[in-house]
Amino acid sequence: MTGSSFLTQVLALARRSTVRTMRQPAVIISALFFPMMFFSINASGLDAASKIPGFPTDSYLDFAFAFPLIQASLFGAITAGSDLARDIESGFFDRLSLTPMRPVSLLGGMLAGVVALGLLQGVVFLTIGLLMGVDISSGLGGMFVIVLLTVLVALGFGGIGAILAIRTGSVEAVESAFPLFFVAIFLSSINLPRDLIEQDWFRFIATINPISYLVEGIRSLVITGWDPQALALGFGFAGAIVIVAIGGAAASLRTRVA
C-alpha cells in the first residue's frame, strides 16, 4: 500500500472538517450571529464616541466594523481547536494517526476548515455591513483585502487553537481559553483608537497587543482607504502569528504522533 499524497490527505481532512461544521447549524449560527449582534450593539451604543475630538471617522459603524471580523475569526479558531481536542479525547485522532497520514496534513485539513469558515464569515459580514451602511473607503479591492486579512487572522487564531488542543487534548481546556482570547480582543484598540485611550496602562497594553494591529489593518481599509503602514503592520502581525502558531502546532503534532 502506498501512502496518499499530501494534497489528497489535506483535501480529505478539509472536506471532513467542513462537512462536520456545516452539519452543526448551531455552530454556524453562533459564528455568524454573535459577532454581528455585538457589532450592532457596539455601533449603536457607542456611536457618541465618534464625536470625540480626534476620532478618525464620524461613523462609529465604520469604525467598529473590524470587530465582528476579528471576533468571528476567534469563534472559528475555538471551534476548530475544540473539534481537534474532541478528536483526541474520542480516539478519532488515534484512528487517523494509524493511517499513513502525515501529521502536517491533519493540521492542513483542520486549518482548511477554518479558512472555509473564515471566508464564509468574511463574505457574510461584508454583505451585511454594506447593507447596514458601512462605507468601505478602499472600494471593491479593499473588500477583497479585508476578507484576505480576516482569513489570515482566522488561520493564526486557528493555529493557536490547534496548539491548545494538541498540547492538552482537552475540549474543556480549549474552550476555557475562549474568555482569555476575548479579553485580549477588548484590551486592544477594538473600541477606541489607541491615542484616545485615556488610561496609560490600557493604552500601553493596547499598543503591545498584536490584535490592535490586526484591527487597525482592517479598519484602515474601511475608514482611511489604502494606508500602507497600517496594512503592513496588519499583515505583518497576522503573518507572524500564522507562522508562530502553525509552526508551534506542527511541532506539537510531531511530538504527539511519534
Binding site: 489528497t8 490527505q9 462536520r20 478519532f92 494509524l98 493511517t99
Partner: protein, 327 residues
C-alpha cells in the same frame, strides 16, 4: 514485503508516572495467520500492550516487532501494515458510515474509484449497506463496532488488532463479529491480536491464548492445552438438605481435592477424570445422601486463570486502581 511476519515481543515494559508497571516485561510471539487471544481482567495491561504494539504509546523498555518492523524505530511501516479497532469505537458522529470509509481509504492512498469499491464491499461485509448514508450518531453500539472493524480493514492489513471488540454488545452483534473475525483469519489469513475479558470469546476465536494479570503474562498456550494443564474436570453437588452437606463433603472428598463452589454446593476436582462421575453417583447412593443437583464441569479458562493467579477472572479487575484508558 517478502516473508510474512507476525508479532514478536521481548521484555516489553510500560510504566506510568505515579503508577505501577502497566505492562511488566512481557514476551510473546504471534505467528502469521494466527488468532491470538489476550485475556485478562480490566486493568491487567491488555490495552496498554495494544497501544504500544500499534505505535500509539512508546514502551518504557523492551522491544517488539510487528510485521517485521520495530514499533519504536519503524512506526510508519508498522502503521501501514496493521489495522486496529481500539477499545472505544472512535467515530465522528457527524459523518456517515460511508464518509468514514472514504476518509480512511483516502488517507491510506486508495484511488477515488477504489475508495468507492472498497467502501461498498466493506459496508456489505459488515452488514451496514442500509445505514451507510446515515450519520453515525444514530448508530447502535453494535453498528458502531461493525463500522469500526470495517475501517480497520480498509487497506487490507495483514495484521489486525482488536481491543475488546465485543464489550457492551448484545449477543447477536457479538456472534456476528465473531463470525467475521473467524472468516478474516481462516479465509483471508489475517493475523489477529484480540484482547478480551470474555472467556468464551477467547475460547471460540483464539488459536492461542495469553493470560495477562497485573502486567505479566501468567499463562500462554492453546485453550485446550491450558485447560488440560489444569487437567481434570470437576463435579459439583448441591445437597437436598442443608444438614446433609457434611456427608456430601465426606463422599466427594474421596474423589479429589475440594475447590470453590456455588453457595450451598460442594465441588471437587475429579482426580480420576470424567469417568469418575459414575463412581461419585454410586458412592452418594450408597451413603444414602440425597442431592438436589449434580453437575460435571469441564475445566474452563477461568479455572486456568484461577489456578495461575489465585483469583477468578470474573471481577478480578474490579479492585484494580489503574485505569488503562489513561494510557
Amino acid at each position: 514485503m517478502g516473508q510474512e511476519r507476525g508479532i514478536e515481543v521481548e521484555n516489553l515494559v510500560r510504566e506510568f508516572r505515579k503508577g505501577p508497571r502497566a505492562v511488566d516485561g512481557i514476551d510473546l510471539r504471534v505467528e502469521p495467520g494466527e488468532v491470538y487471544g489476550f485475556l485478562g481482567p480490566n486493568g491487567a495491561g491488555k490495552s496498554t500492550t495494544v497501544l504500544m504494539l500499534t505505535t500509539l504509546l512508546p514502551p518504557t523498555s523492551g522491544t517488539a516487532t510487528v510485521a517485521g518492523y520495530d514499533i519504536v524505530k519503524e512506526g510508519p511501516q508498522v502503521r501501514a501494515s496493521i489495522g486496529a479497532a481500539l477499545q472505544e469505537a472512535a467515530l465522528d458522529p457527524f459523518l456517515t458510515g460511508r464518509e468514514h470509509l472514504h476518509l480512511q481509504a483516502a488517507l491510506h492512498g486508495l484511488s477515488r474509484k477504489e475508495r468507492r469499491r472498497r467502501g461498498q464491499e466493506l459496508l456489505e461485509r459488515v452488514g451496514l449497506e442500509e445505514a451507510a448514508d446515515r450519520r453515525v450518531r444514530g448508530y447502535s453500539g453494535g453498528m458502531k463496532r461493525r463500522l469500526d472493524l470495517a475501517l480497520a480493514l480498509v487497506h487490507s492489513p495483514r495484521i489486525l488488532f482488536l481491543d475488546e471488540p465485543t464489550t457492551g454488545l448484545d449477543p447477536q452483534s457479538r456472534s456476528a463479529l465473531w463470525a467475521e473475525v473467524s472468516r478474516l483469519a481462516r479465509e483471508d489469513g489475517v493475523t489477529v491480536f484480540l484482547t478480551t475479558q470474555y472467556l468464551e470469546e477467547a475460547d471460540v476465536l483464539a488459536d492461542r491464548v495469553g493470560i495477562i494479570d497485573r502486567g505479566k503474562i501468567v499463562a500462554e498456550d492453546t485453550p485446550e492445552v491450558l485447560k488440560a494443564e489444569i487437567g481434570r474436570p470437576s463435579v459439583e453437588a448441591t445437597p437436598a438438605e442443608r444438614s446433609e452437606r457434611d456427608a456430601v463433603v465426606r463422599v466427594l472428598s474421596e474423589f479429589g481435592e475440594e475447590i470453590p463452589a456455588q453457595p450451598g454446593a460442594v465441588a471437587v476436582r475429579l482426580s480420576g477424570g470424567a469417568a469418575g462421575l459414575a463412581d461419585v453417583v454410586r458412592a452418594l447412593d450408597k451413603e444414602n445422601v440425597r442431592v438436589a443437583n449434580l453437575r460435571l464441569d469441564e475445566p474452563s479458562l477461568d479455572d486456568v486463570f484461577l489456578a495461575k493467579t489465585g483469583r477468578s477472572l470474573e471481577g478480578a479487575g474490579d479492585d484494580d486502581e489503574m485505569d488503562e484508558a489513561q494510557a
